[in-house]
Symmetry: D2
Subunit: 140 residues, 4 copies
């Protein structure tokens, strides 16, 4: 239950595989069943009033758990998101990055499942909660 990719390896993967969004994310912590990812908030993530957009929070949840799966399986695997359920609970604090804390609950042969809590940096209140499922293609 150790990770096959650490933070720098995962950020490198993100740069290569998803260059359009890689700059938005920073990996704060990687552990065997947990991952903490920062969404660096810039103008494009905001909605009028300064709140972070729903799609941006969805993206953070998806990236955080996707990288968690990748950390465990290594870069060969091409996991695909098949389901996301997200609850939006509070307005994020203005001008703060968002921190997504991913927890891997199952890493099976064909499905991975986990959840993510999203908070504004420095705050304990949960802004959004997401659970996601990934389909893992059969290895050859």
């Amino acid at each position: 239950m150790s990770v096959k990719m650490d933070g720098p390896a995962l950020e490198g993967f993100l740069q290569e595989a998803f260059p359009q969004v890689a700059e938005d994310f920073r990996i704060e912590e990687v552990a065997a069943e947990q991952m903490r990812v920062r969404l660096v908030i810039t103008e494009k993530h905001l909605r009028p009033g300064g709140t972070v957009s729903g799609p941006s929070m969805f993206a953070l949840a998806d990236v955080a758990l996707y990288l968690m799966v990748l950390a465990r399986l290594g870069p060969v695997a091409l996991a695909v998101t098949t389901n996301c359920n997200i609850d939006f609970m509070r307005k994020p604090a203005a001008g703060k990055d968002l921190i997504g804390e991913a927890r891997l609950l199952k890493l099976g042969r064909s499905l991975a499942v986990g959840d993510v809590l999203i908070r504004s940096e420095g705050s304990k209140a949960v802004v959004a909660r997401a659970s996601l499922t990934y389909s893992i293609p059969p290895s050859n």
Copy 2:
């Protein structure tokens, strides 16, 4: 952030309000933002092969978080489940009770949100994960 109803009070409420199912559940622990509830497995919860049925796990998740909301609001409130999202991840252990660990993430004026991890007694592996939303009627 203290609870208004403790374990015995909640079990008493269950007996009165939901006599058909009250006997199925035991409250193991009540805290300000957490609740642990046992589903006492009997014949009616099982499917062929000895596995616990999906509706039984749904019921455990719903009861655990419902009681968590009740513990905080007191017995006046009639919260109504509006959404449940549940991931079934592993087969429960045969012949074991299920333990639902509920976590309250938001208790707003009109909505309460939380999630529940379900495990077979004595096991660390998560059998199912659920998140639920309750609508709280306006108090008069």
Copy 3:
């Protein structure tokens, strides 16, 4: 895109595989991508006030889409529910059966996905809406 099992075949399967609950359900209609299943409401499905319990509605949604998958794949397949998301929207009418209308949206090699609308018999208002995912084991 034709079905491999018709209504009587599916009810027969239900009797053999799930004898505890088979009597609760009647198959009203089977088509290539749609299925209509009735939950015959009895005392055990009710909560105080005469409303149908959440777990009973969950069970109806799960059975309806499960049988839809079975109708297409035939009785060999042992599909397993991996996710259910359900919205409870209205109180069911008192003393009426519930009708679940399942729609198959994807039948892949390893995953099947669909949704179900639940209504009180004779009413157009949707009582609950569910979407479900099934994992289909590799055939030998």
Copy 4:
């Protein structure tokens, strides 16, 4: 059950309220309980390999049902997305816009619920399915 805002009115609202994303969406059809919205695919929506990103599909689902609620309530209401559940089922066709077909299932005093089917333009296969809940603030 008539709409209070038609297509041009809704597009005008989008321009004013969400100028960052308004250009991405076109309203194809508005009816009392249904809405069809196009996501005009450009470079920013794509992932390597030409597939549309998950957050872009989430955004389409959210905008389509949000506008459906707005069409019914008028521009005064500030509905807030509280939950989204989305199933990703197929890869979208390369180089095609996505069409979201929203269906309003409940428009209550405090909650609105509906679902959205997303397809590549000109295709019948469903690429993604989403259900969403909106909290409607009390009117003064």
